[in-house]
Amino acid sequence: MSLFEVDTSLPLVAMNSAISAGSELDPAGKEGLTRLTLRLMRRTPRGRDADQTNELLDGLGANLSGDVSRSTTSFSGVVLRENLEAFAQVMRDVWEAPGLSASEFALLKAECLAEWRESLDNDRTLVFRGLDRTLYGEEGANRAAGGTFASLSQIELADVEAHAARLVQIAPRLLAVTGDFEPEFIAAYAQNFSRASSAPAVERAPEPTVPQGRRLYFIDKPERSQSQIAIGGLGTHPRDEDHFALAVANTIFGGTFTARLSQEVRVKRGWSYGAYSYLSLERSRGAFSIWTFPEAGDTPACIELVLSMIERWVDKGVSEAELKRAKTYLKRSHVFSIDTASKRIQQELDVRLYDWPSDYYARYLGAIAQVSVEDINLALRRRIDPGALAISVVGTASTLLGPLQKSISGLANTELVAFDRPD
């Protein structure tokens, strides 16, 4: 299966190849296996080592990277037009002929562990890691694609070899190409790129569920002058009938600078440089999440405010004026989802990878236009439960945890972890 669009405005070609399975394939206790496997495949096409591969790609004027989400695995890259043929061969080889040498595996594993440790310095990474963990729990298919220090430590070369053999069998392997190329060349290339598979279908994880009550996951880090806050619950799936209503509701609540959240937290109170909400899209039901980062002393009041805003949003709904503004913005800004060939092709790719309705993007504008205040208010009450939210905070527990526990009404439980011991 291949998708392509010629665009001769720049002498570049972008290629993306992907399968519809990702970190959900990671065995329990070896989280991060798919990602580590993909990285080793990227380094060792046709028996090269990483230095040889990097020299080849740099010489072509190309970049190539691997990416793993919960339910997708992909290689993507860009190359100078004149070197497309050689790059296309590398793209094929990372899938079909990875060397997976023991020496490269040892180096890569050490790198992954070092990167994981360095990520402890990034408070934003930590807070969203905490949110995922609190939202989805530590079991099942929703564990972190990057793995943990403990799980990465458990992965051996034999695991990677077996996993690479599994990944290469998964079909269909989709190919998307945009840029300045000869269509005949890509058509011929694509014929041999995707192949039929005899592998069993990927077993999909059940839809995630959310426990009742508000749960606080506090990541303790000394000397924080500021807290990172992520609050979330489950959102919708593109197949849900109220999906577009919730998308508009999110725009009104925290999707733009003039949305409620930014106005109350940043503009009126100056509490944080940013305050936004998001709806993620995945194969399974995505998350609704909020991110903000106030000064440490403002943290309890900020969380209290955000929780009360969510309650009011769900309880009182939105106004006609808010709906009208949000629709206008979504309609007019939609052009930026399709203003380049690579964005247009990516949409088609996503629909196939995530098994969304085939007309999802085609009907986007029409569906947004039809959303009413009643649709939104119904969707909010159905999808967002203010009493069952995960609250992840990175801050200094000695000064903050007590006040925070007092200020969060309906707090069902608290988990306190040291930032350097999240495993």
């Binding site: 740099d58 072509l60 594993k109 440790r117 109170r269 440089y273 503004r325 052009v335």
Partner: protein, 471 residues
């Protein structure tokens, strides 16, 4: 009649515009410059000194609209650092006829994605929007160039926002802290000494008078360039710009009262202990300005040292010896001479001193022997890929044009630099390495970790067997 030179391909357009020009809105066509592919960049200048760069690119029904001011944190005085950046935030507040918040509402109603940024040499404002919204955006941007109003509540709230931005980017961020320390130490007299976001005590102290004074001094048409890229017609865009901006009088921008940085004659070193997962190291050598002809070969040299997976430092420090989790380098893209920076994050248990010794070996290597032709070819290919990748969208094109116009007054300098790269030989890179990578001109910041903060390492859990001195 305000019309000036009407010769050339825009004669009729300018003649028509001249007939309707507001007081300061006479328009002159200055030059046509080749851009990528078939595209051409046109420069026009209004009577009030506003430069307008237009690039018609019908690839998508969108327009990118950037306003670049030649004012940045380099124009600030001690005690008033961070003013350019704070003012950038305030530019989204109230204007005559528009209460606080209305500017953003109108932008969003146009479907515009808007943002702004401030750095050492410039402040820029940018919007990308559907092409049928151009007239509204021109009106809004012209309004805030000369009709901004400030209230105390908005200033107080925005100062709090900026203080939180500083906590986010600097105070609670190890890399941000180390970077700030490097520039503070490397520059003693030149304003590059101070961080663009400002010192916390300075941010707290700003008054309405400070802000309005800054606005009056620097936000003048003669100190700005409009860059418009996308699917529009030049006569229409010029007419809109003329009507909206032609009402703004020409102002004189104060001369820049800065001093060059004295020559550094001895290495400077700072040690700092911070709560972090591992030690870090940052080196800053005094380097050339962006406009200096040495900047191009130095950029290629840095690309060869850290520019990709195949470059020297990642190969050795990350892969071969497993000493760091990350290593980077850059040549400051600034109007005045700034820093050639090397930074590395040591792996846990590895000392910054160990990383330093390897880094110095690699720097000595580029001082002693020329790079290989293959390395140079790879660096050129990467530079070309990087430039072209940044030009995919209208916004990317406008950013590239605006940056080089504001810093160098040469809006297509990105392409000139690419051509200059083709002329460089290994000997050129050797020459600039010897000229700039001098120990006496460098500043070193070494960040260690307090003993109580060290994350224990389990040797059993790590098969790399490369960790040194595990806590």
């Amino acid at each position: 009649m305000k019309m000036k030179s009407t010769r050339g391909k825009f004669a009729k357009v300018l003649e028509k515009l001249g007939a309707d020009a507001p007081e300061y809105g006479g328009v002159e066509h200055r030059e046509t410059l080749p851009f990528s592919g078939e595209l051409e960049l046109e420069r026009f200048v209004l009577d009030n000194g506003l430069h307008v760069l237009l690039l018609v690119d019908p690839a998508a029904p969108v327009i990118a609209y950037h306003t670049w001011f030649r004012v940045g944190s380099r124009h600030e005085k001690p005690g008033k650092t961070g003013l350019a950046h704070l003012f950038e935030h305030l530019m989204f507040n109230a204007m005559e006829g528009l209460p606080p918040g209305e500017f953003d509402k109108r932008m969003e109603a146009s479907g515009a994605d808007n943002n702004a940024s401030t750095w050492l040499d410039f402040t820029q404002y940018q919007e990308a929007f559907p092409k049928d919204q151009l007239s509204k955006i021109v009106e809004l941007e012209a309004l805030r160039m000369h009709r901004l109003t400030l209230g105390q509540p908005e200033l107080d709230a925005e100062k709090d926002v900026v203080k939180n931005e500083r906590r986010f980017r600097v105070d609670d961020d190890v890399d941000g802290r180390v970077e700030e320390l490097l520039w503070k130490t490397a520059f003693e007299k030149h304003p590059y000494h101070a961080p663009t976001i400002g010192w916390m005590s300075d941010i707290e102290g700003f008054t309405i008078e400070d802000c309005l004074g800054f606005y009056r001094r620097y936000y003048a048409p003669t100190n700005a360039t409009l860059v418009i890229v996308g699917d529009f017609r030049i006569p229409n865009a010029l007419g809109l710009v003329q009507r909206a901006y032609g009402k703004i009088p020409r102002e004189t921008v104060p001369f820049e009262d800065t001093y060059p940085e004295p020559v550094q004659t001895a290495e400077r070193r700072v040690d700092v202990s911070l709560m972090a997962s591992s030690e870090r190291l940052v080196l800053g050598y005094k380097g050339p300005s962006l406009g200096d002809q040495d900047h191009v070969p130095l950029s290629l040299l840095i690309e060869i040292m850290t520019g990709g997976g195949a470059s020297r430092l990642p190969k050795r420090l990350i892969r071969a010896e497993g000493l760091v989790s990350d290593v980077r380098a850059s040549v400051g893209p600034h109007r005045d001479p700034s820093l050639i920076e090397f930074s590395a994050s040591a792996r846990q248990g590895v000392s910054a001193a160990r990383v330093m010794s390897v880094l110095e070996e690699e720097i000595r290597r580029v001082l002693e022997e020329p790079v290989s032709q293959a390395e140079l070819d790879r660096a050129r290919a990467r530079a070309r890929l990087s430039l072209l990748s940044g030009l995919e969208t209208a916004d990317g094109k406008a950013s590239t044009i605006g940056f080089y116009e504001t810093v160098l007054r040469r809006p297509i300098a990105a392409f000139e630099r690419l051509r200059a790269m083709d002329d460089q030989e290994p000997a050129d890179l050797l020459r600039v390495a010897r000229r700039y990578l001098d120990v006496c001109s460098r500043t070193v910041v070494v960040q260690t970790v307090p003993p109580e903060a060290a994350v224990p390492v389990s040797r059993d859990a790590d098969p790399s067997a490369r960790l040194e001195g595990a806590a």
